[in-house]
Point group: C2
Chain length 185, copies 2
């Protein structure tokens, strides 16, 4: 009666995409079973806490990816290497603006209240790590703080505007501008 192939790890990216597309409230269990191919039995086996559990695991997964692929390099590697690597990672991760930021989307509505610590931590660590890299690249404290905040903010804004206008070039254009602005000064 079962097919027994799925691993919990394989399901997480699928769940992430579902929450991205539909939002937390819009992601109903029937749509989750539909798009993951997993029945309720399997879903509640892997995520005993139900939908909130799934979203929490997905958020933790996203957070871990950024921590490993973006924040840590910014903190530990040479800024001259880590900052360009960030542009590449961000462009790839968000599919040049075709994919939204789940953390940002959750921040906008009441879903924020369920995951406020994770959401706050994600953005806080991103800005701090970038600020740290900019400081080590020779920027003064004020400029580094300003540019770090501006960069993360512009990435989020570009994701909103990309989805709103359907302008496929907007995200890449924004990253190019940020590259120039952050490289200068």
């Amino acid at each position: 009666m079962a097919r027994m192939v799925h691993e919990r790890t394989d399901v997480i990216p699928l769940l992430a995409e579902i929450f991205r597309d539909l939002g937390y409230e819009g992601a109903t269990l029937s749509r989750i079973t539909e798009r993951t191919g997993l029945g309720k039995g399997s879903l509640y086996h892997f995520f005993p806490g139900g939908k909130e559990d799934m979203a929490a695991v997905v958020l933790a997964d996203v957070d871990a990816w950024f921590e490993r692929s973006v924040f840590q390099p910014l903190r530990l590697e040479e800024p001259q290497r880590a900052i360009p690597a960030m542009w590449e990672a961000v462009d790839a991760y968000f599919h040049s603006g075709q994919r939204i930021c789940l953390v940002g989307a959750f921040a906008l509505d009441e879903t924020r209240d369920r995951f406020s610590a994770t959401i706050r931590g994600y953005f806080g660590r991103w800005i701090e790590a970038l600020q740290d890299a900019l400081l080590r690249a020779g920027r003064d404290k004020e400029t580094a703080a300003r540019d770090a905040e501006e960069t993360v903010l512009a990435i989020q804004g570009a994701l909103v505007l990309s989805r709103a206008t359907g302008d496929e070039g907007l995200f890449a254009r924004t990253l190019d501008r940020l590259r120039l602005r952050v490289a200068a000064a």
Copy 2:
């Protein structure tokens, strides 16, 4: 059996705030009746199309406000007057970042599909009107296009980041930076 006080026009801002807080899917009819004080009878009397009708009317209302208070002035008045007026209007409208942009929020999840024309129009006209004002202020076409896009994008990003981090100063800080950047060049 009835109290007969409400006007349709009075309900729209309440509905707007509800959709802002809860998102389209999160705004259930029971929460709408609860927070507006109107029963289903009244709601369906004013908005025969139900929830989708309410959201459409709210979006049209938001759009009309921006058209009248921001876009039109940018197109018709002196840029030296209209652009500073835009910063003021935006700061007041979004309560210095304490209030999100409904249009931007709807753009992120599948709600976008229901209202894509309105959403696209809102951002498109905003960017175009600002670009127009910047052109008339003496900017060349390329700079005007870039600054207009960057400005609207940064406002949206600041709203996301404000809600995510709870940093109350972020929105005002961002507007100040935009003011300087747009005034220069």
